[in-house]
Amino acid sequence: MIEVEQLTKTYGLVPAITNLSFTVHQGEVVGFLGPNGAGKTTTLKILTCFLPPTSGRARVNGWDVLEDSMKVREVVGYLPENVPLYSEMTVDRFLSFAAQAKGVDSRKVKTSIDKVTGDCGLEKVRNRIIAHLSKGYKQRVGLAQALLNNPPVLILDEPTIGLDPAQVVEIRELIRSLGQERTIILSTHILPEVSQVCQKVIIVNRGRIIATDAVDALTRQLQTSRRIHLTVHGPQEEVQKTLSALPGVLQVEHLDEHAERYAVEMIKDQDIRAELARSIVEKGWGLLEMRSQELSLEEVFVQLVTEETREEA
């Protein structure tokens, strides 16, 4: 569906993205994740034919973004960053302009506007002027215009930025429902968004891809260590000493002065929970709680990005 090979874009001498390659299959919802300035927007602008690449190829639906730009633009619905709209127009007027500009058959303009306003929850504001709408509604208008000619590919640049938490949830819900029949790439630097909405994630930093995988696989794979939370009833120093002495344990941390909670970090591949429990019980202390803690996507991301930076330095 979307194939990117060795894509490079430089602004003057400054490289924005370097040798990016990835593939997005039909029906996938892919999160394009990276810190600000990582090259996410540049990549999306190339995919939507707004910017030509310096070198490399990008194809959407088999059409090259440089050679068959018109064909690509026909199959892509694009929500640019910051949602530019003609704010002096009413929602209806703007959508009817967008529909005509996108070449929607003039007899179908009205039905397609009815459909997208319905899908995006815009029925109530159709005759309002865009400038007077709240940010959440503007975002929906932006999505609605992207959906007008029912494109099989949607490219959304930071679709939830600047919205209040309730609106964020609504927009994510909307994107998820749209993703059932479409291929979607959305860029974001908000991590929970990726784990909630996307099946696959591409992490970029400084114009390079540093990881591509399914969201849960990535979280799993990237954990180099595993954390276990314990609550042990017993003398603190001795507990700490005993646990640290066990093979496979990297570090024991006392979390709380008053409660008897510890965090034990251990090597990923070795499961020593049984040994932990046994050694505590053998000493005659009370083992009150034991649970393992999954590394969140957020932590994985920070880990990846910092690792990358360290390597380069």
Binding site: Y78, R93, G103, S106
Partner: protein
Amino acid sequence: MKGFVAVFRRELYAFFASPIFYVVGTIFLILSGYFFYNSVAYFSLISFQAAQNPQMGAQVNLNEMVVKPLFDDMSVILLLIVPLLTMRLLAEEKKNGTIELLLTYPLREVAVVLGKYLATLMVLVILLTITGSYMVMLAGFGKIEWGPVLTGYLGLILLVAGFVSLGLLASALTQNQIIAAVIGFGALLMFWIIGWIGSVAGPGVGKVVHYLSLLDHLEPFSNGVLDSRDLLYYINFSLFFIFLTLRYLDSQKLRG
């Protein structure tokens, strides 16, 4: 074609929905009305004098004394106001980022540029049509020849078409509307007065600058003369700057 119509209609809507058109249009009509009144008042004064002096009467002519000066005056007002109408065409889109929508829709750039160009031209033609009422009034009180009036209007429309094309290029160059207006106005004024050095420059250069001058090509039209050289000049002038606008948009894309 469909894309062109969409851009054209949106642009017309933008003109009529924004106060710029009404302000600019009102000022244009007030000024041209004032010039018209002035010419007519002068004409009636001369007519009274001519009534006492039969020899002078032969020279009194509405076309020469009212219509032609009015066309000259209107061309100068248009020189001042057209950059104000064209300044937002592309600069505003660039500033607001809506250009990103336009250029990622399946629209050809030609459709975008021509849609904007012709919509602006249409707005100006509407304003010029309103001034046609002056001519009708004039015809009610005296005898005018319609031929030179029509060619005069044709000349003004061609002139305005040239103004708009240059203004459009100026608007493509920047995202600041004021800069677009200043560049547009400066460049138009330069093309307006470039013929002035014709009399002091050498014969070769003199011919060239006269040919380039927007002003020199207008005169035949208000005299009722349709010359293909003048027609071609204005058409080429417009096409050249529309072409440059397209090239500029393209090159900007490549630079990123």
